[in-house]
Each structure stands twice: as C-alpha cells, then as structure tokens.
Symmetry: C2
Subunit: 335 residues, 2 copies
C-alpha cells in the first residue's frame, strides 16, 4: 500500500512528494475517451464497474499516488431531485433554476441509497488499488451557484443577487446543501474513501466579507461534522488568494490552492495545515522544458516539503496530451 498521500495529508514529511491531479480521472485518458463514445458522463459515474475503471486508469497509466473517485459535482443535486443535464462544451444546465424559498423547499432530503452506486465504486476501487481513494463533493456555494444560475456563468450575478436580496433563503439553501454534503461525504467515507475533498470552483468571485459571513460558517460546519470520520479532509478552491485567511479558517488537514498565489505565501497563511497545489494546468499544454522549469520554480518557492501534496491548481485541461501528464508525475516523483 502506497500511503505517501495520506501521510503528507497528515502533515508528515514523506520520502518523496505525493502526486495526484484534479480531473486525472477522465477527460484526457484513452480508456475514458473510448467509454465516452458509448456513455454519457453521468451514466459513467453512476455505473460502478465503469466509474471504477475510469478512476483506476490514471493509477495504472500515470502512476499517481492517489485515486480520485470519478464523479460529477451534479450527482448530489440529482439526488436532491434537481432536474439537469450535462451539456457537452457548456456544462451542467438546470431545468428550473432556484428563485425563492418554495424552490428550496422542493429539494428532497438527501438519502444515501440514491448514491449507492458511489459506495459500490469506492468498494471496487479499494479492493483493486494499492493507493488511497479520495472522495469528493462540490462545496455548498458552488452547488448553490449552479442551482441558481442554471448554467455556467462568468459573473455569478444571479447568485449574488440571491445572496444579498434573500439572505434568509440563502442561509436555508446553504444549510440544506451542507446537510446533504455532510451525508454525501460521510457515505463515501463509510464505503471506504480514505480522504475527502470539498471542491470550490470560483468561490473567489466573492468579496472576502461576503465569503466570511454567508459561506464560511456553512463550510466550517461541514468540516466539523466530518472530523469524527478521522480521514484527511481537503478544502480546495480556485481564486482564493485574497481571502485565503478566511478560506483556510476551517478544521481540516489540507488546503488546496491554485496558481494565483505563491506556495510560500500560501504556506504563511495556511500555517501548519498541509498544502496542496498549484501548477497552472495550462503549463501542461506547453513544451516539456516549460513544464520542468515551472515545477522547479514552484518547488523552490515552496521550500520545505513537509506537509505538501503536488497537484494542479485546477482540473487537467481536456486538451492535454496524457504522455505529458505521465512525464510530469515521473518528474515530480524524481524530485
């Protein structure tokens, strides 16, 4: 059993840097692409044998030190009865975006049996793999913003309008989603997930004070509730540079950051927590010499490697050549 990732997540110095990459499962890998000719993303994620196959592919092919469950953050809203589609080259599109209290009250309570397939995928992975399995969930702000916007956005204006004009309903929505996230991640841990990541895309679109008041308390509650499960908990967000003090102010083992902040600066803010990140995924589209140089600069800037997990700052760009990813993993392993 390769437990480098788990030991680094717990703050230990490891004999070499553990590596995993967000979106390592799916997107660029040939086995996944072949499956996608036949199956939709949600269908793949909801079929344990196939989801396990997709989750395992990067372990065999890339040699990463942890497996991330192949899933979609929209699986949770689906379990709450939200009608949605994943549209190619757009993303999740919600049939009836949330507008008011009645819409929130129509969300079904989360029931574990609606995501039994995830537990089954995790059990399959645990029986097959020699590396830890990471479970994950979209964070409540991210989920809420999808439900309110109805589709990907560049300015989150509808979400903010909802937060500011209907603070009580926002709070209700965040509590509802947080309850579900706690159950969703707990069920993954019960099935065997050895770590979990709460995944915050774009939370950096908020003013720090807004994050502090209308998002952070809910995130804190999620992390506190998961503490008793005794697995490392990762809090990841993009574009959190200017609010990292607040973002990191949760009871968790690992903070994941993107490339917008230097690791040395993130380390100062994050303190003793393990740091995860933060290569810009665009770098992997470049010539190999560029990748090597950027990794060297990152690690030099980081300094002490105790309590550090190598990752990208966001998901693998779908245009990335998988041989380049393999080379990256090998290169970091050799450091």
């Amino acid at each position: 059993m390769n437990d480098l990732f788990l030991r680094a997540a717990r703050g230990e110095k490891t004999e070499r840097i553990p590596v995993w990459l967000m979106r390592q499962a799916g997107r660029t890998l040939p086995g996944y692409k072949k499956l996608r000719e036949k199956y939709g993303v949600l269908e793949l994620a909801q079929t344990p044998e196939l989801a396990a196959q997709v989750s395992s592919e990067p372990i065999e092919r890339l040699g990463v030190d942890a497996a991330i469950l192949f899933a979609d953050i929209m699986l949770l809203p689906l379990a709450l009865g939200v009608k949605l589609e994943i549209v190619d080259s757009i993303g999740p599109v919600i049939e009836s975006p949330l507008e008011n209290k009645a819409d929130i009250e129509r969300l079904l309570p989360f029931k574990k049996n609606q995501v039994q397939y995830l537990g089954e995928t995790i059990r399959l992975l645990r029986s097959q793999l020699e590396v830890p399995v990471i479970g994950f969930s979209g964070a409540p702000f991210t989920l809420a913003s999808y439900l309110i916007e109805g589709k990907p956005t560049r300015d989150w204006a509808r979400t903010k309008q909802f937060m500011f004009d209907q603070p009580e309903n926002w709070d209700l929505l965040m509590r509802t989603l947080s309850d579900a996230v706690i159950e969703y991640l707990s069920s993954q841990i019960q099935a065997g997930a050895q770590a979990v990541q709460l995944f915050y895309s774009w939370v950096g679109c908020l003013a720090p004070a807004t994050y502090r008041k209308q998002v952070l308390p809910h995130v804190q509650r999620i992390f506190s509730a998961l503490k008793e499960r005794k697995v490392p908990r990762i809090h990841f967000g993009t574009d959190t540079g200017a609010m990292l003090e607040d973002f990191a102010d949760v009871d968790c083992e690992v903070i994941g950051v993107d490339w917008r902040i230097e690791l040395s600066k993130a380390r100062e803010i994050v303190g003793k927590k393990t740091l995860q990140g933060n290569l810009d995924p665009s770098v992997l589209l470049c010539d190999w010499g560029v990748v090597e140089k950027k990794v060297d600069e990152m690690l030099e800037n980081l300094g002490n490697r105790k309590g550090y997990i190598f990752n990208l700052g966001h998901g693998v760009n779908p245009k990335t050549d998988d041989s380049q990813i393999k080379r990256l993993v090998d290169y970091v392993h050799a450091q």
Copy 2:
C-alpha cells in the same frame, strides 16, 4: 469646473468622495440604447458627435464626477490592422488569432491619425463638460490575450501557452502593444484627456511570478513614458488581490481594485497611491437597501477617505436599472 476627481487622484482629501463608474457610458443608459438601435458599438465609438453624446449622458443623467471616453479596447488593435468584429453577447472576435512571430510582425505601427476620431471626441467633451475627461486603453496583456485567443475565454490557456512556449515572441508582442498603448494614450492626453486609465481585465488569471516577469516590466514602461504628460494615471485590474504588491509596483497615481480585496487591505499594500473601487457591480442588481448597506460597509472598511475615488470593481452590469445607478451616485455624494 468640478475637479474633485483630479484632486483625489492626486492624493488630496476632498470635501466629498468623487464618483465615476466603469462602463457608465453606454450599456444601461436610455440615450445609448436608442443609438444602439441604429449603430454598432465600433461605429458609435468612431463617430465623434455620437461618442461624445454617449460619454456625456452619465454626467447629465447620473451626476458622476468624471467622464470616461466612450470607446472600446479593440479600437487600438483595429488601428494596428487587426481584423475583428464585436459580436453581441460574445464580445470581440478576431479573424486570424496570433500564433507566431510573423503574425506579430504583420501588425502595423500605430499611427495617431487612425484614431483621430478619439481626439475629436475628447475635444468635444472638453468644450461641453464641467467634469474631467478620462481617456483609457486596454493594457497590453489584455490586448494580447484577445489577439491570441481570438475570442473571450475562461482559462486563457492559449495565451499562457504562447507566453510560456514563445517567451521571446511574447516579449516582442508586449513591446509592440506597449509602444502602441503609449502613443494611443498620449494622443488622448494631447487632445485634452485629463487622466488616463490602463484597463486590465482578468490579469489575475496569471501566477504572480508570471505577471512579475512577463507583464509588469511592460506596464512599468508604459507608466514611465506617460509620466511627462503630467496627468493622473490609473492602473486598474480585476482579480489582482493575490498579486497586488506587484500590480501596484508602477509609477502611477491611482490603483483600481475589484471587490475581491478589502479596501483596507488594498490600502496597506498600495501605500500612498490613491485607491479606486470597489463595489461589486452585482450589488446594483439588488434591492436599494442592499446597495446602501454594501456602500456603508465599504466606506467603513476604507476608513480615511483621503486619496480615494469611488467606483465599481468592474464595469456596470448591462442589466442594471439606471435609476439605481443614479441613486448610488447620490448616496455616495451624501457620505
């Protein structure tokens, strides 16, 4: 003559806070909307009488303390011979995105007479208005990213690939664009612009080290070259929270920030420079009570108002009701 804006830009304490709003000209105002039924954006910007009319409308209607030239950042690339269209609900679309050195060398040298219409607009505005006229230009990174991506993007992956794989060509492109920006802004100042803003959308997509090495030196050169013109120079960017030390490291009078950073924290970093910003434009879509509360919180967080100009953190959202904007301007004036 209302010179509040100019005095605040020079760091003075003013008897009340000067206010102007990015994208105050155009977008939401009725006179502009009426003109847009007949004319395209570029046509409006290139016709002095019409551009002056659009630039003046917010002074009369909203009571702001400065006029921003109605223009488009793509006017400069047009003057360099780039073929492009402004497509509704998408933005600028470039006919042949830049890929290599030859593409850069095909850019024409900037000639002032290609933007004579802007000088004429500025002269008209100066003769009509009792508030200062601000000229502006897209910053070289922003211009370069449009020219390379060909259309708006969410990840700037092509731009970064270009920067990293072809650093010498990137440097050439940045020098070429910076030369043009210097001439472009100088010609606006010569025509009568009493301040200029270098406008950086999304420069926060870069890692701080990348900004420092591949963007900042060019911006520093632009600001140094404009110093002799003796008008206040504003350096504005979105999402600069985690790189603000570097972003503010130019010889200019005013730093503009978005809502992702608190004004008190920005003040610490920016030092004696005047601060401009930073209300989230989404707030203006909310009930009036929300606007009032957010402005109160902003100003309380700011503390000392010496050397401060009120603005949004980015352009007015096109869905904003103009009566709400008017009310905002009046409210800030009453503080």
